[in-house]
């Protein structure tokens, strides 16, 4: 029987290969994701370990509470005098202090800041190039002295920097011009994720980073024979509050924490899309197998008359699917290596070079890829396999025997409705249920979506007739007789058409969902900006989200025509026991921004003074705050201050630029080291004019990282990050659409094979090859459009539900995108039909009639 199964596969190579492709793609994605993220992970781990290689223990600043890390907020620096204390401690052989920054920008020859993708611009002090603590190697030139900088050779190459040249560097203040003393390299890697590296001597770095008299870290080497634990306890006994001591390995782990979290997220994110592709693939497999098994009815019946049992029939199909699943998964596993390589290359091309110290191929990758691929194939084949066992032996002597209807066929419609209801219930529970954690929320939503997709796929059988009728009208108009036949063909096996269309439906539903969400976010954001940002220009970092020096806003104030510059700064603080984002505004906000006040008035913005604060109505309600209520905040540096609520505002749907609590910039600058602005908003005489634009740009000349923009530009720039994410989502979902495209090809190939006689007859009575191709093409387009329409409708419904859940998004129908998706569905139909149509047209009428 095994041989029977295997020979069967060999006898249907093309069909088997087309079926397997659906799984190959999904597994490739799974394997590629693991290889990519494992490789990045390992590369980063080695980077973080290398940094700490020379030290035994590390002293660093300690925040007064756990920072979320999301804002790039770091623990506050500590006094430089700590270094002296450390050196005094017995057992300390060498100790060296350093400062660092994630926004030490180099200014290119074009006067613009050098950034690659969203990668940070790392700046750090190098106390002594030859010290054991220095993880860098000098490629060329010398280590930096006062007013000098060393740059990583990769950046130097790209920007044509030369040794001895003066280069602009901007960190916390205006641009400084420093001499390039040499080029450096970090360990063995060329670049760290596209980050630029700039090293300075300690004094220069402290000045640039606005950390004069402060240190971020002290690297310590112990005297010989002293254990790290002992050294740590001696240091802990002596060191002041606001510092912590960790062994170098723990410190490396702590350094890597944020990166690891991101990699884990990235991995889960990609795997989710691999899962979607596999889910779509399972539809394709189930459908292809159903068709082949239906076509093999006689075969199974014959085997039964020869004494084959039901179990043997089941077994032979299971073996087939195991073999297909195993081969497909194995292929996908190795293609995954290629995919990882391709992704590294693509990221590199996009300027965001991922660290790569060779592809990592873990055993887990092999196990998961094979297991998932084989299991999905197996599960998808169960239903058709069970149907095959119901073929009665007598079918061997009946001509045109068809597969008996499944025992559960009559439960299909009620069953699909129950599935749909359960799906929506699970989704609604996930969305609106109380107190659900993120994991639970995602699980419920995922489960709901899964049930909804399966339910719709089953219910779709009922929709094929009417949908094909309507969507087939253009085909009958354009295609003539061939078009009419195409429409009838699409309708004659509704089950098959529905399953084929369902695969495409899933991909398009998700794409639509994303588009609906994006449209909602964009619209809400625009509305919010229009409501709050009632001045003329905004100033942000070139990348739209990094902090910019306060000096930039001050420079803008001096520009001709400027009436008011309102700045917003942001940081983290602990309020009511949890870490939150807080913001601060300058008094000019009263003239440049407009809030909808529930309590207090616009004047609050200008009169926050030392202790005033305002909150949004949601936060006020959650914590029972009213005008006059006290709010205590704890800064990372450990300062505790009490503020008083002066106003409560109602933010627009799209949110506001403010954190949970906002107080005066004046107070902010006392509480936080090295304060910087997130945005500045500028009110000018005569509003937006060419002169004003030019005047503002000129004022910002010394701040290459800052840019001024009109409100329209500001909205577009802020949303550009969203567009990038959107494009990534579309690319990832395109994979599922491609899988369903193979599904359509597969169905058509099988259908053409099945209708060989009929096609021969049509050709014999005068249908041309061209008409034959047209007939197949129209059938394909009608099928794809059914999937498209179902997917788009479902996507809009799911998107609408999500929008209803998320407070800061309003519903907006992305009409243009939806039309584009419908066109995409038509294109999928046309492309899918190319190969099957060619096969159908090639049939020789005579041979076709002789078939069997």
């Amino acid at each position: 029987m095994i041989r029977f199964a295997l020979k069967g596969l060999l006898g249907r190579k093309l069909r088997t290969a087309l079926t397997a492709l659906a799984i190959v793609l999904g597994v490739t994605m799974v394997s590629g994701t693991y290889v990519l993220t494992d490789s990045i992970d390992e590369a980063f781990d080695s980077i973080f370990t290398d940094v700490r290689r020379g030290s035994d223990v590390v002293v660093s600043g300690e925040a007064a509470f756990d920072l979320t890390g999301g804002s790039g907020a770091t623990a506050p620096p500590f006094e430089e005098s700590v270094l002296g204390q450390v050196r005094e401690i017995e057992g300390v052989a060498v100790a060296e202090g350093s400062v660092d920054s994630e926004s030490a920008q180099l200014i290119g020859d074009d006067g613009k800041a050098v950034t690659y993708g969203g990668a940070p611009n790392l700046g750090f002090s190098i106390a002594d190039g030859n010290s054991r603590f220095n993880p860098l190697t000098l490629v060329e030139g010398e280590w930096p002295g006062p007013e000098e900088v060393v740059i990583d050779s990769a950046t130097a190459d790209k920007e044509n920097f030369e040794i001895g040249e003066q280069v602009g560097v901007q960190a916390a203040g205006p641009v400084d011009r420093l001499r390039i003393s040499g080029f450096i390299k970090f360990g063995s890697v060329d670049t760290i994720g596209g980050a630029t590296l700039a090293g300075f001597d300690l004094r220069t770095a402290q000045r640039l980073f606005d950390k004069v008299g402060k240190l971020d870290e002290i690297a310590v080497a112990a005297t010989e024979g002293l254990s790290d634990e002992e050294l740590i306890s001696r240091l802990e006994a002596e060191l002041p509050e606001g510092t912590q001591v960790l062994g170098s390995i723990q410190q490396a782990e702590e350094d890597a924490e944020e990166t690891n979290e991101f990699i884990t997220f990235f991995q889960g994110f990609l795997l989710a899309f691999a899962g979607i592709a596999l889910f779509v693939g399972s539809f394709v497999i189930a459908n292809s197998l159903s068709i082949t098994i239906a076509q093999r009815t006689r075969e199974f019946a014959t085997v039964r008359t020869l004494g084959g049992s039901r179990r043997q029939v089941l077994g032979s199909i299971i073996i087939e699917s195991l073999v297909v699943g195993a081969l497909a998964s194995l292929t996908g596993l190795f293609l995954g290596l290629g995919l990882a390589k391709l992704l590294f290359w693509l990221f590199d091309l996009a300027g965001f070079t991922l660290p790569n110290s060779g592809l990592v191929f873990e055993r887990r990758t092999i196990i998961v890829s094979l297991l998932v691929g084989i299991l999905v194939t197996l599960v998808a084949s169960l239903r058709p396999a069970i149907r095959a066992t119901r073929v009665p032996p007598i079918a061997a002597v009946r001509e045109g025997a068809t597969l008996p209807e499944s025992r559960f066929a009559r439960f299909r419609t009620p069953g699909s409705i129950v599935l749909l209801l359960l799906g929506f219930a699970a989704l609604a529970y996930g969305l609106f249920g109380d107190d659900l954690g993120t994991t639970q929320l995602l699980t419920w939503m995922g489960l709901g979506a899964l049930l909804i997709f399966i339910g719709t796929a089953l219910f779709a059988v009922r929709l094929v007739q009417p949908l094909a009728g309507v969507l087939g009208i253009p085909a009958t108009r354009i295609g003539g007789a061939a078009g009419k036949l195409a429409r009838d063909n699409a309708r004659r096996n509704p089950q098959r058409t529905a399953s084929t269309a369902a695969a495409l439906m899933i991909g398009l539903a998700l794409v639509t969902l994303v588009a609906v969400l994006a449209a909602g976010i964009t619209k809400s954001f625009r509305t919010s900006v229009d409501a709050i940002f009632t001045s003329d220009y905004a100033i942000t970092a070139q990348n739209n989200f990094s902090p910019i020096p306060i000096a930039a806003a001050e420079a803008a104030e001096d520009a001709l025509g400027v009436e008011a510059v309102a700045s917003v700064r942001t940081a983290e603080a602990q309020i009511f026991g949890s870490g939150e984002f807080v913001t601060a505004v300058t008094p000019e906000a009263e003239d440049a921004l407009t809030l909808d006040w529930q309590a207090g008035s616009q004047g609050v913005l200008g009169n926050l003074g030392r202790n005033g604060a305002f909150v949004d109505d949601g936060y006020a309600e959650d914590h029972g705050l009213q005008v006059g209520s006290p709010v205590e905040i704890l800064t990372p540096a450990g300062e505790r201050v009490e503020l008083e609520i002066m106003g409560i505002f109602d933010p627009p749907n799209g949110g506001s630029p403010f954190g949970v609590v906002t107080f005066s910039a004046e107070r902010f600058d006392q509480l936080y080291d090295s304060p910087q602005n997130l945005y500045s908003f500028v009110q000018m005489r005569g509003d937006v004019t060419e002169e004003n634009t030019a005047a503002l740009a000129a004022a910002l000349e010394d701040f290459p990282n800052a840019k001024s923009q009109t409100r329209e530009e500001f909205v577009d720039n802020q949303i550009s990050g969203l567009s990038a994410i959107l494009n990534i989502l579309y690319v990832l979902l395109a994979l599922s659409v491609i899988v369903s495209l193979f599904g359509i090809i597969n169905t058509l190939v099988l259908t053409v094979f099945e209708r060989t006689r009929e096609l021969g007859m049509l050709r014999a009575i005068g249908m041309t090859r061209r008409q034959t191709r047209r007939m197949i093409r129209h059938e394909s387009v009608i099928t794809a459009l059914i999937g498209g329409v179902l997917g788009i409708v479902l996507g809009v419904v799911l998107g609408g539900l999500l929008v209803a859940r998320i407070e800061f998004i309003v519903f907006s129908l992305p009409a243009v995108q939806l039309i584009a998706f419908a066109i995409a569905a038509i294109v999928v139909g046309i492309v899918a039909a190319i190969f099957p149509a060619r096969r159908a047209a090639k049939l020789n009428p005579l041979e076709a009639l002789q078939y069997e």
Partner: protein, 249 residues
């Protein structure tokens, strides 16, 4: 000589077999009470015009279909009440089939097709018998060809070898020459006859061709769901004459 042979020589017995399709006004009675016993080691032909019920009778005798009433036994086992699993086992030991459209599995070679019933049952062919069988059906040089590479006659030879390989108690042939030209058909009939003679193989053949029925040891005539005539071995001419009596012109 055959282990399942019964003393009285009947290996397949049908008693008062009826078969009704559908119900109510549209019900059709395909068989209206047929009793018969198939003698061991003999070739029995079942003849009759289309719609006479001859195919239905064969399906029921072979366990492919269930009678509405009546009983059927093969090698002493009552088959009408058997469960699917037991019926499957019975098929393996006692029943062979030859079909009008050959029903070979396209992806298997001739040899693989022939031994398929044995592979399914998990046994191996007896070497000497297998060699003899291949010689008998004349396929020695075609064993590694696939059905698509064989002529219709050759395909039916493969099918006959497949039906004989497990030496079943009874072999049912459903219009075995119905899809072949007359010369090839003749060769197939000769092969069937000689199999009965050489191996003592019991066969039941359904046909509407008097030429085919003329090789049988006994010819049963069905009309309107009843056995209307029972003839010993006869010439094609006599059989044709008997047929004409049944079919009013």
């Amino acid at each position: 000589m055959h282990e399942n042979g019964k003393a009285d020589g009947a290996v397949v017995v049908g008693t008062d077999v009826t078969r009704r399709y559908g119900s109510g006004d549209t019900a059709v009675d395909a068989l209206r009470g047929v009793s018969l016993a198939i003698a061991q080691g003999k070739l029995t032909a079942v003849m009759g015009p289309s719609g006479s019920g001859k195919s239905t009778l064969m399906h029921i005798l072979a366990g492919l279909d269930k009678p509405t009433s009546g009983s059927v036994s093969i090698a002493g086992t009552e088959i009408t009440t058997l469960k699917d699993t037991d019926l499957t086992k019975l098929r393996r030991r006692h029943i062979g089939f030859v079909f009008q459209f050959f029903n070979l599995l396209p992806m298997l070679t001739a040899e693989e097709n022939i031994v398929l019933p044995l592979s399914i049952a998990g046994t191996k062919p007896e070497r000497s018998f297998f060699g003899d069988l291949i010689d008998k059906v004349g396929l020695a040089d075609r064993l590694h060809h696939r059905p698509a590479e064989l002529s219709g006659g050759q395909q039916q030879r493969v099918a006959i070898a497949r039906a004989l390989v497990s030496r079943p108690t009874v072999l049912f042939a459903d219009e075995p020459t119905g899809n072949l030209d007359s010369t090839t058909g003749h060769e197939i009939l000769e092969l069937m006859r000689s199999s009965v003679d050489a191996y003592g193989q019991t066969m039941v053949m359904v046909t509407h061709d008097p030429q085919a029925a003329s090789i049988a040891d006994r010819v049963l005539f069905l009309n309107d769901g009843l056995i209307v005539k029972d003839m010993p071995r006869s010439s094609p001419g006599d059989i044709l004459a008997a047929m004409s009596e049944l079919q009013p012109a």
